[in-house]
Amino acid sequence: MSALEIVGLNKSFSGFRVINDVNLFVEVGERRLIIGPNGAGKTTLFNIITGEIQPDAGTILLNGQNITNIPVQKRSHLGLTRTYQIITLFPNDSLLKNISLSLLALSSLRWSPFVALDVRNDIKLQALEVLDQVGLKRLADRPLNQTSYGEQRRVEIAMALAQRPKIILLDEPFAGLSIEERTQIRELLVSIPEEVTIVMIDHDMEVALEFAEKITVMHFGEVVVEGSRAEVVEHPKTREIYLGE
Protein backbone atom coordinates (compact mmCIF):
# COMPACT_ATOMS: atom_id res chain seq x y z
CA MET A 1 0.00 0.00 0.00
CA SER A 2 1.18 3.47 -0.81
CA ALA A 3 1.11 6.48 1.52
CA LEU A 4 -0.16 8.74 -1.22
CA GLU A 5 -1.51 7.76 -4.57
CA ILE A 6 -2.72 10.23 -7.19
CA VAL A 7 -4.36 9.08 -10.37
CA GLY A 8 -5.27 11.13 -13.42
CA LEU A 9 -5.38 14.53 -11.71
CA ASN A 10 -6.55 17.50 -13.76
CA LYS A 11 -7.27 21.11 -12.90
CA SER A 12 -7.95 24.18 -15.01
CA PHE A 13 -8.32 27.81 -14.02
CA SER A 14 -10.50 29.75 -16.47
CA GLY A 15 -9.57 27.47 -19.33
CA PHE A 16 -5.89 27.36 -18.50
CA ARG A 17 -4.75 23.90 -17.54
CA VAL A 18 -2.50 24.07 -14.46
CA ILE A 19 -2.48 20.38 -13.58
CA ASN A 20 -2.43 18.06 -16.55
CA ASP A 21 -3.07 14.39 -15.98
CA VAL A 22 -0.72 14.03 -13.02
CA ASN A 23 -0.08 10.60 -11.52
CA LEU A 24 1.95 10.22 -8.36
CA PHE A 25 2.76 7.24 -6.21
CA VAL A 26 4.56 7.77 -2.90
CA GLU A 27 5.43 4.85 -0.64
CA VAL A 28 5.14 4.79 3.12
CA GLY A 29 8.22 6.34 4.70
CA GLU A 30 9.48 7.67 1.41
CA ARG A 31 11.17 11.08 1.07
CA ARG A 32 9.92 12.51 -2.19
CA LEU A 33 11.04 15.73 -3.78
CA ILE A 34 8.94 17.46 -6.40
CA ILE A 35 10.82 20.09 -8.29
CA GLY A 36 10.07 22.35 -11.18
CA PRO A 37 10.35 26.02 -12.07
CA ASN A 38 7.91 28.64 -10.81
CA GLY A 39 4.47 28.11 -12.26
CA ALA A 40 4.95 24.40 -12.78
CA GLY A 41 1.84 23.68 -10.70
CA LYS A 42 3.59 22.33 -7.62
CA THR A 43 1.75 24.40 -5.02
CA THR A 44 -1.55 23.85 -6.81
CA LEU A 45 -0.87 20.14 -6.57
CA PHE A 46 -0.37 20.50 -2.80
CA ASN A 47 -3.54 22.55 -2.50
CA ILE A 48 -5.46 19.81 -4.29
CA ILE A 49 -3.98 17.10 -2.09
CA THR A 50 -4.94 18.98 1.08
CA GLY A 51 -8.36 19.75 -0.36
CA GLU A 52 -8.10 23.53 -0.48
CA ILE A 53 -8.76 23.28 -4.22
CA GLN A 54 -11.12 20.77 -5.78
CA PRO A 55 -9.72 18.94 -8.83
CA ASP A 56 -11.66 18.77 -12.08
CA ALA A 57 -10.86 15.10 -12.45
CA GLY A 58 -8.75 12.47 -10.76
CA THR A 59 -8.52 10.51 -7.55
CA ILE A 60 -6.41 10.96 -4.44
CA LEU A 61 -5.81 8.04 -2.11
CA LEU A 62 -4.30 8.50 1.33
CA ASN A 63 -3.08 5.21 2.76
CA GLY A 64 -5.49 3.49 0.44
CA GLN A 65 -8.46 5.63 1.43
CA ASN A 66 -10.10 7.77 -1.24
CA ILE A 67 -10.02 11.32 0.10
CA THR A 68 -10.89 13.17 -3.10
CA ASN A 69 -14.22 14.39 -1.79
CA ILE A 70 -13.37 14.69 1.87
CA PRO A 71 -13.41 18.29 3.22
CA VAL A 72 -10.10 19.98 4.00
CA GLN A 73 -10.42 19.96 7.75
CA LYS A 74 -11.04 16.21 7.89
CA ARG A 75 -7.87 15.36 6.00
CA SER A 76 -5.56 16.45 8.79
CA HIS A 77 -7.46 14.10 11.06
CA LEU A 78 -6.48 11.34 8.66
CA GLY A 79 -2.79 12.10 9.16
CA LEU A 80 -2.10 14.59 6.37
CA THR A 81 -0.41 17.88 7.25
CA ARG A 82 1.35 20.58 5.35
CA THR A 83 3.46 23.70 5.63
CA TYR A 84 3.04 26.82 3.56
CA GLN A 85 5.48 28.59 1.31
CA ILE A 86 4.34 31.98 2.60
CA ILE A 87 4.22 32.01 6.35
CA THR A 88 0.63 31.72 7.54
CA LEU A 89 1.03 31.62 11.28
CA PHE A 90 -0.68 33.62 13.99
CA PRO A 91 1.63 36.62 14.32
CA ASN A 92 0.37 38.09 17.59
CA ASP A 93 0.34 34.84 19.51
CA SER A 94 3.25 33.21 21.26
CA LEU A 95 5.04 30.25 19.71
CA LEU A 96 3.46 28.10 22.36
CA LYS A 97 0.00 29.28 21.34
CA ASN A 98 0.76 28.61 17.69
CA ILE A 99 1.76 25.04 18.38
CA SER A 100 -1.13 24.60 20.80
CA LEU A 101 -3.55 25.51 18.01
CA SER A 102 -2.09 22.77 15.92
CA LEU A 103 -2.51 20.26 18.73
CA LEU A 104 -5.98 21.56 19.48
CA ALA A 105 -7.09 20.87 15.93
CA LEU A 106 -7.06 17.13 16.54
CA SER A 107 -8.49 17.29 20.04
CA SER A 108 -12.18 17.32 20.83
CA LEU A 109 -11.27 19.97 23.36
CA ARG A 110 -11.41 22.53 20.54
CA TRP A 111 -15.17 22.86 20.88
CA SER A 112 -14.98 23.70 24.56
CA PRO A 113 -15.88 27.28 25.46
CA PHE A 114 -15.57 26.69 29.18
CA VAL A 115 -12.02 26.28 30.41
CA ALA A 116 -9.10 28.53 29.69
CA LEU A 117 -6.70 26.95 27.23
CA ASP A 118 -3.71 28.09 29.27
CA VAL A 119 -4.58 25.88 32.17
CA ARG A 120 -4.68 22.75 30.02
CA ASN A 121 -1.32 21.34 31.01
CA ASP A 122 -1.43 18.34 28.69
CA ILE A 123 -1.62 20.54 25.60
CA LYS A 124 1.02 22.85 26.97
CA LEU A 125 3.44 20.04 27.75
CA GLN A 126 2.97 18.49 24.34
CA ALA A 127 3.53 21.85 22.67
CA LEU A 128 6.71 22.43 24.66
CA GLU A 129 7.93 19.02 23.66
CA VAL A 130 7.41 19.83 20.00
CA LEU A 131 9.13 23.18 20.39
CA ASP A 132 12.02 21.40 22.05
CA GLN A 133 12.20 19.07 19.08
CA VAL A 134 12.71 22.01 16.71
CA GLY A 135 15.02 23.78 19.15
CA LEU A 136 12.78 26.67 20.01
CA LYS A 137 11.76 25.83 23.54
CA ARG A 138 13.53 28.85 24.94
CA LEU A 139 11.35 31.14 22.81
CA ALA A 140 8.07 29.46 23.77
CA ASP A 141 6.47 32.56 25.26
CA ARG A 142 7.71 35.04 22.70
CA PRO A 143 5.13 36.45 20.28
CA LEU A 144 5.69 35.08 16.81
CA ASN A 145 6.12 38.48 15.20
CA GLN A 146 9.19 39.05 17.37
CA THR A 147 11.06 36.06 16.02
CA SER A 148 13.29 35.77 12.99
CA TYR A 149 12.18 34.46 9.63
CA GLY A 150 14.19 31.29 10.06
CA GLU A 151 12.60 30.64 13.40
CA GLN A 152 9.15 31.18 11.91
CA ARG A 153 9.98 28.57 9.25
CA ARG A 154 10.82 26.13 11.98
CA VAL A 155 7.54 26.92 13.74
CA GLU A 156 5.77 26.13 10.45
CA ILE A 157 7.33 22.70 10.43
CA ALA A 158 6.77 22.25 14.14
CA MET A 159 3.07 22.89 13.67
CA ALA A 160 2.95 20.15 11.08
CA LEU A 161 4.97 17.75 13.24
CA ALA A 162 2.85 18.45 16.31
CA GLN A 163 -0.04 16.64 14.70
CA ARG A 164 2.04 13.44 14.50
CA PRO A 165 1.17 13.05 10.85
CA LYS A 166 1.58 10.02 8.65
CA ILE A 167 2.45 12.22 5.74
CA ILE A 168 3.84 15.75 5.61
CA LEU A 169 3.71 18.07 2.64
CA LEU A 170 6.49 20.67 2.80
CA ASP A 171 6.10 23.70 0.54
CA GLU A 172 9.58 25.15 -0.10
CA PRO A 173 10.85 24.91 3.49
CA PHE A 174 14.21 26.37 2.53
CA ALA A 175 12.96 29.41 0.66
CA GLY A 176 14.58 32.67 1.70
CA LEU A 177 16.83 31.20 4.38
CA SER A 178 20.49 31.81 5.10
CA ILE A 179 22.97 28.94 4.77
CA GLU A 180 23.11 28.47 8.50
CA GLU A 181 19.35 28.38 8.78
CA ARG A 182 19.14 25.88 5.96
CA THR A 183 21.41 23.59 7.85
CA GLN A 184 19.14 23.79 10.87
CA ILE A 185 16.10 22.95 8.79
CA ARG A 186 17.91 20.10 7.14
CA GLU A 187 18.84 18.65 10.49
CA LEU A 188 15.29 19.04 11.59
CA LEU A 189 13.98 17.18 8.56
CA VAL A 190 16.47 14.39 9.05
CA SER A 191 15.25 13.94 12.60
CA ILE A 192 11.71 13.20 11.48
CA PRO A 193 10.89 9.56 12.23
CA GLU A 194 11.36 7.23 9.30
CA GLU A 195 7.81 5.94 9.15
CA VAL A 196 6.56 9.46 8.36
CA THR A 197 6.23 10.05 4.65
CA ILE A 198 7.55 13.37 3.42
CA VAL A 199 6.69 15.10 0.17
CA MET A 200 8.58 18.31 -0.42
CA ILE A 201 8.44 20.77 -3.25
CA ASP A 202 11.12 23.20 -4.27
CA HIS A 203 12.03 25.06 -7.37
CA ASP A 204 15.70 25.08 -6.56
CA MET A 205 17.28 21.70 -7.21
CA GLU A 206 20.51 22.19 -5.35
CA VAL A 207 19.09 22.75 -1.89
CA ALA A 208 16.91 19.76 -1.44
CA LEU A 209 18.52 17.28 -3.69
CA GLU A 210 20.44 15.33 -1.13
CA PHE A 211 17.36 14.95 0.96
CA ALA A 212 15.30 12.79 -1.37
CA GLU A 213 15.59 9.29 -2.69
CA LYS A 214 13.15 9.84 -5.47
CA ILE A 215 12.49 12.98 -7.44
CA THR A 216 9.58 14.13 -9.61
CA VAL A 217 10.09 16.98 -12.05
CA MET A 218 7.05 19.03 -12.99
CA HIS A 219 6.75 21.49 -15.82
CA PHE A 220 3.65 23.34 -17.07
CA GLY A 221 1.42 21.17 -14.90
CA GLU A 222 2.77 17.88 -16.12
CA VAL A 223 5.07 15.30 -14.62
CA VAL A 224 8.02 15.39 -17.00
CA VAL A 225 10.57 13.15 -15.39
CA GLU A 226 10.46 10.82 -12.43
CA GLY A 227 13.13 8.60 -10.99
CA SER A 228 16.04 8.30 -8.58
CA ARG A 229 18.26 11.26 -7.88
CA ALA A 230 20.90 10.23 -10.38
CA GLU A 231 18.40 9.41 -13.12
CA VAL A 232 16.67 12.73 -12.82
CA VAL A 233 19.82 14.78 -12.72
CA GLU A 234 21.10 13.07 -15.82
CA HIS A 235 17.84 13.22 -17.73
CA PRO A 236 18.00 15.58 -20.74
CA LYS A 237 14.57 17.04 -20.05
CA THR A 238 15.67 18.11 -16.59
CA ARG A 239 18.66 19.83 -18.04
CA GLU A 240 16.45 21.45 -20.63
CA ILE A 241 14.14 22.89 -18.02
CA TYR A 242 16.83 23.91 -15.59
CA LEU A 243 19.55 25.06 -17.87
CA GLY A 244 17.15 27.25 -19.74
CA GLU A 245 16.83 25.96 -23.26
Partner: protein, 323 residues
Protein backbone atom coordinates in the same frame (compact mmCIF):
# COMPACT_ATOMS: atom_id res chain seq x y z
CA UNK B 1 -2.55 42.81 45.63
CA UNK B 2 -3.25 46.27 44.37
CA UNK B 3 -5.02 44.78 41.36
CA UNK B 4 -7.35 42.83 43.56
CA UNK B 5 -8.03 45.93 45.61
CA UNK B 6 -8.87 47.84 42.50
CA UNK B 7 -11.20 45.19 41.15
CA UNK B 8 -12.94 45.02 44.50
CA UNK B 9 -13.26 48.79 44.68
CA UNK B 10 -14.65 48.95 41.16
CA UNK B 11 -17.11 46.17 41.86
CA UNK B 12 -18.13 47.73 45.13
CA UNK B 13 -18.73 51.08 43.53
CA UNK B 14 -20.76 49.48 40.75
CA UNK B 15 -22.85 47.45 43.16
CA UNK B 16 -23.42 50.33 45.53
CA UNK B 17 -24.21 52.76 42.71
CA UNK B 18 -27.92 53.03 43.57
CA UNK B 19 -26.95 54.14 47.07
CA UNK B 20 -24.64 56.98 46.14
CA UNK B 21 -26.12 58.01 42.83
CA UNK B 22 -29.01 59.89 44.32
CA UNK B 23 -31.17 60.45 41.29
CA UNK B 24 -33.21 57.63 39.80
CA UNK B 25 -32.55 59.10 36.42
CA UNK B 26 -28.85 58.33 36.54
CA UNK B 27 -29.44 54.87 37.90
CA UNK B 28 -31.62 54.27 34.87
CA UNK B 29 -28.92 55.59 32.59
CA UNK B 30 -26.46 53.21 34.22
CA UNK B 31 -28.87 50.32 33.58
CA UNK B 32 -29.12 51.32 29.95
CA UNK B 33 -25.36 51.47 29.59
CA UNK B 34 -25.11 47.96 30.97
CA UNK B 35 -27.82 46.66 28.61
CA UNK B 36 -26.11 48.17 25.60
CA UNK B 37 -22.75 46.96 26.86
CA UNK B 38 -24.05 43.40 26.87
CA UNK B 39 -25.32 43.88 23.32
CA UNK B 40 -22.00 45.38 22.22
CA UNK B 41 -20.10 42.52 23.87
CA UNK B 42 -22.27 40.10 21.94
CA UNK B 43 -21.51 41.81 18.66
CA UNK B 44 -17.84 41.96 19.60
CA UNK B 45 -17.74 38.17 19.48
CA UNK B 46 -18.28 38.51 15.75
CA UNK B 47 -16.60 41.81 14.92
CA UNK B 48 -13.63 41.51 17.23
CA UNK B 49 -12.98 37.82 17.58
CA UNK B 50 -14.32 36.35 14.34
CA UNK B 51 -13.56 39.15 11.89
CA UNK B 52 -17.18 39.11 10.75
CA UNK B 53 -18.74 42.57 10.68
CA UNK B 54 -22.48 42.39 11.18
CA UNK B 55 -24.63 45.37 10.37
CA UNK B 56 -27.80 43.51 11.23
CA UNK B 57 -27.48 42.59 14.86
CA UNK B 58 -30.52 44.62 15.77
CA UNK B 59 -32.41 41.82 14.02
CA UNK B 60 -31.34 39.30 16.65
CA UNK B 61 -31.78 41.78 19.48
CA UNK B 62 -35.25 42.65 18.24
CA UNK B 63 -36.32 39.04 17.79
CA UNK B 64 -35.72 38.46 21.49
CA UNK B 65 -37.72 41.59 22.32
CA UNK B 66 -40.63 40.63 20.13
CA UNK B 67 -40.74 36.95 21.08
CA UNK B 68 -40.65 37.84 24.76
CA UNK B 69 -43.38 40.41 24.28
CA UNK B 70 -45.61 38.04 22.26
CA UNK B 71 -45.34 35.27 24.80
CA UNK B 72 -46.05 37.63 27.68
CA UNK B 73 -48.99 39.14 25.80
CA UNK B 74 -50.30 35.65 25.05
CA UNK B 75 -50.45 35.11 28.79
CA UNK B 76 -47.42 32.91 29.33
CA UNK B 77 -45.28 33.40 32.40
CA UNK B 78 -41.95 35.19 32.45
CA UNK B 79 -40.02 31.95 32.64
CA UNK B 80 -41.61 30.61 29.45
CA UNK B 81 -41.29 33.97 27.75
CA UNK B 82 -37.57 34.16 28.48
CA UNK B 83 -36.96 30.58 27.38
CA UNK B 84 -39.04 31.10 24.27
CA UNK B 85 -37.21 34.29 23.44
CA UNK B 86 -33.85 32.53 23.73
CA UNK B 87 -35.04 29.63 21.61
CA UNK B 88 -36.31 32.02 18.95
CA UNK B 89 -33.15 34.12 19.00
CA UNK B 90 -30.98 31.04 18.62
CA UNK B 91 -33.16 29.82 15.77
CA UNK B 92 -32.98 33.14 13.97
CA UNK B 93 -29.23 33.30 14.62
CA UNK B 94 -28.92 29.89 12.98
CA UNK B 95 -30.76 31.10 9.88
CA UNK B 96 -28.71 34.28 10.01
CA UNK B 97 -25.52 32.24 10.12
CA UNK B 98 -26.54 29.74 7.47
CA UNK B 99 -27.26 32.54 5.02
CA UNK B 100 -24.53 35.01 5.87
CA UNK B 101 -21.61 32.61 6.17
CA UNK B 102 -21.65 32.15 2.43
CA UNK B 103 -19.81 35.45 2.15
CA UNK B 104 -17.07 37.37 3.89
CA UNK B 105 -16.11 41.02 4.25
CA UNK B 106 -18.44 43.51 2.66
CA UNK B 107 -20.71 40.72 1.49
CA UNK B 108 -21.23 39.65 5.08
CA UNK B 109 -22.06 43.21 6.10
CA UNK B 110 -24.64 43.49 3.35
CA UNK B 111 -26.26 40.13 3.95
CA UNK B 112 -26.70 40.81 7.65
CA UNK B 113 -28.06 44.24 6.78
CA UNK B 114 -30.54 42.68 4.36
CA UNK B 115 -31.76 40.11 6.87
CA UNK B 116 -32.34 42.66 9.60
CA UNK B 117 -34.10 45.00 7.17
CA UNK B 118 -36.41 42.16 6.18
CA UNK B 119 -37.19 41.47 9.83
CA UNK B 120 -37.80 45.18 10.28
CA UNK B 121 -40.17 45.20 7.32
CA UNK B 122 -42.07 42.24 8.72
CA UNK B 123 -42.40 43.92 12.09
CA UNK B 124 -43.89 46.97 10.40
CA UNK B 125 -46.20 45.12 8.04
CA UNK B 126 -47.37 42.07 9.94
CA UNK B 127 -49.65 44.10 12.14
CA UNK B 128 -51.65 41.16 13.42
CA UNK B 129 -48.55 39.83 15.07
CA UNK B 130 -46.56 42.92 15.95
CA UNK B 131 -49.18 45.64 16.24
CA UNK B 132 -47.20 47.57 13.63
CA UNK B 133 -45.47 50.76 14.61
CA UNK B 134 -47.64 51.08 17.69
CA UNK B 135 -45.64 48.25 19.14
CA UNK B 136 -46.41 46.00 22.07
CA UNK B 137 -46.59 47.14 25.66
CA UNK B 138 -45.89 44.55 28.32
CA UNK B 139 -47.49 45.06 31.66
CA UNK B 140 -44.92 43.97 34.20
CA UNK B 141 -41.30 43.15 34.88
CA UNK B 142 -40.57 39.68 36.21
CA UNK B 143 -40.18 39.00 39.92
CA UNK B 144 -37.35 36.47 40.26
CA UNK B 145 -37.39 34.88 43.70
CA UNK B 146 -40.25 37.17 44.58
CA UNK B 147 -38.17 40.32 44.20
CA UNK B 148 -40.07 43.22 42.65
CA UNK B 149 -38.02 45.00 40.02
CA UNK B 150 -40.14 48.07 39.63
CA UNK B 151 -37.68 50.45 41.23
CA UNK B 152 -34.69 51.63 39.20
CA UNK B 153 -32.24 50.48 41.87
CA UNK B 154 -33.40 46.89 41.93
CA UNK B 155 -33.58 46.68 38.17
CA UNK B 156 -30.08 48.12 37.98
CA UNK B 157 -28.73 45.49 40.34
CA UNK B 158 -30.43 42.78 38.32
CA UNK B 159 -28.93 44.17 35.11
CA UNK B 160 -25.55 44.49 36.78
CA UNK B 161 -25.60 40.83 37.80
CA UNK B 162 -26.44 39.79 34.23
CA UNK B 163 -23.75 42.12 32.94
CA UNK B 164 -21.07 40.78 35.27
CA UNK B 165 -22.03 37.22 34.37
CA UNK B 166 -21.76 38.14 30.71
CA UNK B 167 -18.34 39.69 31.27
CA UNK B 168 -17.22 36.59 33.12
CA UNK B 169 -18.51 34.24 30.43
CA UNK B 170 -16.95 36.39 27.73
CA UNK B 171 -13.60 36.41 29.55
CA UNK B 172 -13.66 32.64 29.89
CA UNK B 173 -14.83 32.25 26.32
CA UNK B 174 -11.98 34.45 25.12
CA UNK B 175 -9.35 32.19 26.67
CA UNK B 176 -11.10 28.92 26.03
CA UNK B 177 -9.92 26.54 23.33
CA UNK B 178 -12.97 27.49 21.29
CA UNK B 179 -12.22 31.17 21.68
CA UNK B 180 -8.62 30.63 20.63
CA UNK B 181 -9.77 28.63 17.62
CA UNK B 182 -12.26 31.35 16.71
CA UNK B 183 -9.56 34.00 16.67
CA UNK B 184 -7.49 31.62 14.60
CA UNK B 185 -10.20 31.57 11.96
CA UNK B 186 -10.21 35.36 12.01
CA UNK B 187 -6.45 35.60 11.40
CA UNK B 188 -5.76 32.65 9.12
CA UNK B 189 -8.92 30.91 8.08
CA UNK B 190 -7.19 28.86 5.40
CA UNK B 191 -4.51 27.67 7.75
CA UNK B 192 -7.12 26.77 10.31
CA UNK B 193 -8.99 24.46 8.00
CA UNK B 194 -5.75 22.86 6.84
CA UNK B 195 -4.91 22.24 10.49
CA UNK B 196 -8.18 20.39 10.86
CA UNK B 197 -10.59 22.98 12.22
CA UNK B 198 -14.06 23.20 10.71
CA UNK B 199 -13.97 26.92 10.07
CA UNK B 200 -17.58 27.20 8.94
CA UNK B 201 -18.89 25.42 12.00
CA UNK B 202 -16.70 27.46 14.35
CA UNK B 203 -18.05 30.67 12.87
CA UNK B 204 -21.56 29.32 12.95
CA UNK B 205 -21.29 28.56 16.65
CA UNK B 206 -19.80 32.00 17.21
CA UNK B 207 -22.88 33.52 15.58
CA UNK B 208 -25.14 31.44 17.82
CA UNK B 209 -23.12 32.50 20.86
CA UNK B 210 -23.29 36.13 19.79
CA UNK B 211 -26.99 35.76 19.04
CA UNK B 212 -27.66 34.35 22.49
CA UNK B 213 -26.15 37.35 24.23
CA UNK B 214 -27.87 39.72 21.82
CA UNK B 215 -31.01 37.99 23.02
CA UNK B 216 -30.01 38.54 26.64
CA UNK B 217 -29.58 42.24 25.93
CA UNK B 218 -32.84 42.30 23.98
CA UNK B 219 -34.78 40.81 26.85
CA UNK B 220 -33.27 43.24 29.33
CA UNK B 221 -34.19 46.03 26.92
CA UNK B 222 -37.75 44.73 26.75
CA UNK B 223 -38.04 44.56 30.51
CA UNK B 224 -36.44 47.92 30.96
CA UNK B 225 -38.73 49.75 28.54
CA UNK B 226 -41.70 47.40 28.90
CA UNK B 227 -42.36 48.29 25.29
CA UNK B 228 -41.17 47.11 21.92
CA UNK B 229 -41.70 48.68 18.50
CA UNK B 230 -40.13 48.13 15.06
CA UNK B 231 -37.51 50.75 15.94
CA UNK B 232 -35.53 48.10 17.82
CA UNK B 233 -34.97 46.34 14.50
CA UNK B 234 -33.91 49.43 12.61
CA UNK B 235 -30.69 49.91 10.72
CA UNK B 236 -29.86 52.76 13.09
CA UNK B 237 -29.85 50.36 16.01
CA UNK B 238 -27.54 47.95 14.20
CA UNK B 239 -25.25 50.79 13.23
CA UNK B 240 -25.16 52.20 16.74
CA UNK B 241 -24.11 48.99 18.39
CA UNK B 242 -21.48 48.48 15.71
CA UNK B 243 -20.19 51.98 16.39
CA UNK B 244 -20.00 51.18 20.09
CA UNK B 245 -17.82 48.16 19.41
CA UNK B 246 -15.54 49.91 16.93
CA UNK B 247 -15.16 53.13 18.88
CA UNK B 248 -14.40 51.35 22.13
CA UNK B 249 -11.95 48.95 20.54
CA UNK B 250 -12.76 45.71 18.77
CA UNK B 251 -11.58 42.46 20.20
CA UNK B 252 -11.08 43.81 23.69
CA UNK B 253 -13.37 43.02 26.56
CA UNK B 254 -13.67 46.54 27.88
CA UNK B 255 -13.82 48.33 24.54
CA UNK B 256 -17.46 47.53 23.80
CA UNK B 257 -18.40 48.53 27.34
CA UNK B 258 -16.69 51.89 27.05
CA UNK B 259 -18.21 52.38 23.58
CA UNK B 260 -21.67 51.63 24.95
CA UNK B 261 -21.13 54.16 27.73
CA UNK B 262 -20.00 56.77 25.25
CA UNK B 263 -22.95 56.42 22.89
CA UNK B 264 -25.61 56.07 25.56
CA UNK B 265 -24.30 59.07 27.49
CA UNK B 266 -24.12 61.31 24.44
CA UNK B 267 -27.50 60.24 23.15
CA UNK B 268 -29.35 60.49 26.41
CA UNK B 269 -27.44 62.79 28.74
CA UNK B 270 -25.35 65.11 26.62
CA UNK B 271 -28.32 65.74 24.34
CA UNK B 272 -29.96 67.59 27.21
CA UNK B 273 -27.16 70.15 27.23
CA UNK B 274 -26.02 70.19 23.64
CA UNK B 275 -28.57 70.66 20.94
CA UNK B 276 -26.17 69.45 18.25
CA UNK B 277 -25.50 66.13 19.91
CA UNK B 278 -25.60 64.25 16.62
CA UNK B 279 -22.73 66.35 15.42
CA UNK B 280 -20.87 65.78 18.66
CA UNK B 281 -21.24 62.04 18.21
CA UNK B 282 -20.02 62.28 14.63
CA UNK B 283 -17.05 64.42 15.61
CA UNK B 284 -16.11 62.00 18.37
CA UNK B 285 -16.19 59.08 15.94
CA UNK B 286 -14.01 60.93 13.46
CA UNK B 287 -11.64 61.99 16.23
CA UNK B 288 -11.36 58.41 17.43
CA UNK B 289 -10.40 57.31 13.95
CA UNK B 290 -7.79 60.05 13.67
CA UNK B 291 -6.20 59.74 17.07
CA UNK B 292 -6.96 56.20 18.15
CA UNK B 293 -7.86 54.16 15.09
CA UNK B 294 -7.71 50.99 17.12
CA UNK B 295 -10.44 52.24 19.47
CA UNK B 296 -10.63 54.06 22.77
CA UNK B 297 -9.48 51.32 25.10
CA UNK B 298 -6.43 50.07 23.18
CA UNK B 299 -5.68 53.67 22.18
CA UNK B 300 -5.65 54.87 25.76
CA UNK B 301 -3.44 51.96 26.73
CA UNK B 302 -1.01 52.88 23.99
CA UNK B 303 -1.06 56.51 25.07
CA UNK B 304 -0.29 55.67 28.65
CA UNK B 305 2.45 53.24 27.72
CA UNK B 306 4.00 55.98 25.62
CA UNK B 307 3.75 58.58 28.38
CA UNK B 308 5.12 56.07 30.85
CA UNK B 309 8.11 55.24 28.68
CA UNK B 310 8.79 58.95 28.22
CA UNK B 311 8.71 59.57 31.94
CA UNK B 312 10.95 56.58 32.48
CA UNK B 313 13.50 57.78 29.97
CA UNK B 314 13.43 61.31 31.37
CA UNK B 315 13.85 59.83 34.82
CA UNK B 316 16.79 57.81 33.63
CA UNK B 317 18.29 60.89 32.01
CA UNK B 318 17.98 62.85 35.21
CA UNK B 319 19.54 60.02 37.15
CA UNK B 320 22.50 59.75 34.82
CA UNK B 321 22.86 63.51 34.92
CA UNK B 322 22.99 63.41 38.71
CA UNK B 323 25.62 60.71 38.79
Amino acid sequence: MRERCLIIVTLMSLVSLPLWMGSDYYINIASQILIWAIFALALNVLVGWSGLVSLGHAGLFGMACYTGAWLLEAGWGHFTAVLGAFAMTILVSAIFGALSLRTRGIGFIMITLAISQILWGIAYRWIGLTNGDNGIIISARPTPFGIEMDTPGVFYIFTLIVFLLTMLIMAIFYQSPFGVSLRGTRDQSRRMSALGFNVWLIRFFAILFSGFFSGVAGLLFLYYHQYVSPHVLSLLNSAEVLLMVISGGTGTLLGPVVGAGLVVVIKNVASAYIERWNMLLGVIFVAIVIFMPEGLVPGTQRLFRWVFSRIKSIGAAIKSEAS
